[in-house]
Amino acid sequence: MRKILFIIQKEFKQIFRNKAMKPILFVMPFVQLAVLSYTADFTVKNINLFVQDMDNSVLSKELISKIAAFNNFNLKEISNSYKKGFYKIQQNNIDVIVSIPQNFSKNLQTNKKTEVAIIADAINGTKAGVSINYLQNIILDFTKEQASKKGFTNIKQGVNIIKRNWFNPLLNYKLFMVPGILVLLVTMIALFLSGMNIVREKEIGTIEQLNVTPIKKYQFIIGKLLPFLILGIFEFSIGLIIAVLWFKVPILGSITLIYLFTIVYLILILGIGMLISTITNTQQQALFLAWFFSVIFILMSGLFTPIESMPVWAQNITLFNPIRYYVEVIRLIMLKGSSFSSISNNFIIISFAAIFVNLLAVFNYQKTV
């Protein structure tokens, strides 16, 4: 046990001695947490609109001002040239063109049909869809108003949709993103530090010296794991404080449970790092592998895009993604106040994976000797 303490002490000294490392470990993650948590918002706002008004009548102007009054639209330009609008779409300055035809007013007043065209840049399909939906509703409202002005009374009520957002009534994206980004940052730090560690000693040559000492494999691996575990928990705690105090993310569930799961999860991630470290020969190789896995883990975690939207085979891949489980658990505990029984499945999976991966790392380390 004493021997392990000496390794831990040595690792800490090496971490803290590296001047360039300190800001990376203690400033960058928190800046990123604070800044990037604001980015993840799928709500379509600020749609840039171009209106081609070929009618130039009172009614067409009324419709345009109704569109312009809508919150999410920025009416950039009104013109009678379609070409101009199209060029602006090419330049990415305009998202949607609304085209009001000649005789718009005349046809409406004589109760004839008239056609309004909506042309959307559909590369961002979501944005296009939402814009069209907004416009349809505005135009529908416009017709209802016109109808009631003319004294029609048989206006149908239609179906109202009442949306209720549970657990996060204001659709505050930060509540959702902050725990997730915190998880990503802690994971990346733990994975990279442990992934580079043993291979670094291999490259420098000190591993050979350690191999001739009577230190046992498990002592060695534990001595290497613990400093990063402590560091990881420290990072997580600071992040959690930022989440609660700055972003006002609630912690509805048990903090003990959060920490318990975090520790098991970190042991798994550090084990993966150690495994990478034992199977590679140079830091460069370790770096590439760690990079490869972290990109996959991050983008397939369900944090940025829903797992439900992936094809089935890709959904199956996410079953091997530890971040997926951790994000799920953190959200369940913090935002929904779930107890152990709701997260027990994830807990068991992560625990088994942690044991398995660490055993594999110890075994692999033995083989390299």
Binding site: V116, A117, G125, T126, A128, G129, V159, M188, L299
Partner: protein, 366 residues
């Protein structure tokens, strides 16, 4: 010139000697682009939902059928009471519950107000938003078909430019291509100089008569070649695996790719010159680049929806400009004019990065 040649050939040897690394470098982008090209989308199919149908009349059943036949939703649970809703959510599988009120059909026929409740699990607001938008559209359609909406004299024609089938591939594949290309390029060069520092060979380079700019160029050339091979692979995957159209000029696209790759490589080299060990370089290039590039480039989340200050910060992310460029050329088939500003920004960024790198490099010389 001869010293330069031998320097470049040394760099090539470093890279090609290590077969394992080479496999990783060429294999990774293929795996990642294929994986993410399919997996990164916000289109949701077969989402599990719960339905609480309080009227069970023919209208409500018709609506239920319409919801299921849309393909977006799958009914996980037919609920009997309000109480069961929170129970269902806490299990975590179901993201949305629809509540159809009592006397649904009767009220519809009598032209009374009918309220359908759509309750989402908004602890994941993105999924909640997407799903409730789908559902609104379905209910809207339903009202239309059942003649519940006032007939209008205004006929709305909609046209989806560049992406008539509304494929989300068009939205995300260019982003995936950009992100992977950028991160791999920057990562490759980020440890080259740090590595020489750590192995002690840097001193030898510094006492050699090579000028800093020559060393920088010599470091870049082999990786530029590797990155271009990667870029071509990624482009081919985009065209043939994901069916991206190519409406613009290949020459223009090639030049823009060259520019973008160059800026990423130099960014990596800059990281390398300011770090004292491979470990530091790696942490900066990964921790510092990965999340900001993914999140601030507009790859997944629309930049226009971000707070003003972040919109400004996003301007310094080269990936943001390249995503616009690649979408414009491939999907819109534009020429140089509409993307001139984006291109100039990339050129200026590259020049600034190069200047800082060389300056940092010189400081070490003194």
């Amino acid at each position: 010139m001869r010293t330069f040649k031998s320097f470049v050939s040394k760099e090539f040897k470093h890279i090609f000697r290590d077969k394992r690394t080479l496999v990783i470098l060429f294999g990774m982008p293929i795996v990642l682009v294929v994986l993410f090209g399919f997996a990164i989308t916000t289109e949701i199919n077969n989402a599990q939902i719960g339905i609480l149908n309080l009227s069970k009349d023919s209208y409500s059943v018709k609506l239920e059928n319409k919801i299921v036949s849309s393909g977006y939703f799958k009914i996980n649970n037919e609920l009997q009471s309000y109480k069961q809703i929170s129970e269902l959510f806490s299990k975590g599988n179901v993201k949305l519950v629809v509540v159809i009120p009592d006397k649904f059909g009767k009220n519809l026929i009598n032209n009374k107000n009918v309220n359908i409740q759509v309750i989402t699990d908004a602890s994941d607001p993105n999924t909640a938003n997407i799903l409730s938008n789908y559902l609104s559209a379905i209910i809207h359609d339903f009202s239309n078909e059942e003649n519940i909406i006032t007939q209008s004299n205004i006929i709305i024609n909609t046209e989806l430019l560049y992406n008539p089938e509304n494929k989300s591939v068009y939205m995300f594949v260019p982003g995936v291509m950009t992100i992977i290309l950028m991160l791999i390029s920057a990562m490759m060069t980020s440890i080259t100089i740090a590595r020489e520092k750590e192995l002690g060979t840097m001193e030898i380079l510094l006492v050699s008569p090579l000028k800093p700019i020559i060393i920088v160029i010599g470091k870049i050339i082999p990786y530029l070649l590797l990155s271009l091979i990667n870029a071509i692979t990624i482009l081919l995957l985009g065209l043939f695996v994901f069916g991206m159209p190519m409406n613009g000029s290949y020459i223009l696209l090639g030049l823009e790719i060259l520019l973008f790759v160059l800026s990423s490589l130099i960014l990596g080299l800059l990281i390398s010159t300011i770090s004292n060990s491979q470990q530091t370089a790696m942490l900066i290039s990964l921790m510092g680049l990965m999340l900001p590039t993914i999140l601030l480039s507009g790859f997944i989340f629309p930049i226009s929806s971000m707070p003003q200050i972040l919109q400004i910060i996003s301007h310094i992310i080269p990936a943001k400009w390249f995503i616009i460029i690649i979408k414009s050329i491939m999907l819109k088939g534009t020429g140089f004019q509409p993307i001139a500003i984006e291109t100039y920004i990339l050129i200026i960024t590259t020049i600034i990065l190069t200047a800082i790198t060389i300056k940092k490099f010189k400081i070490r010389l003194e």
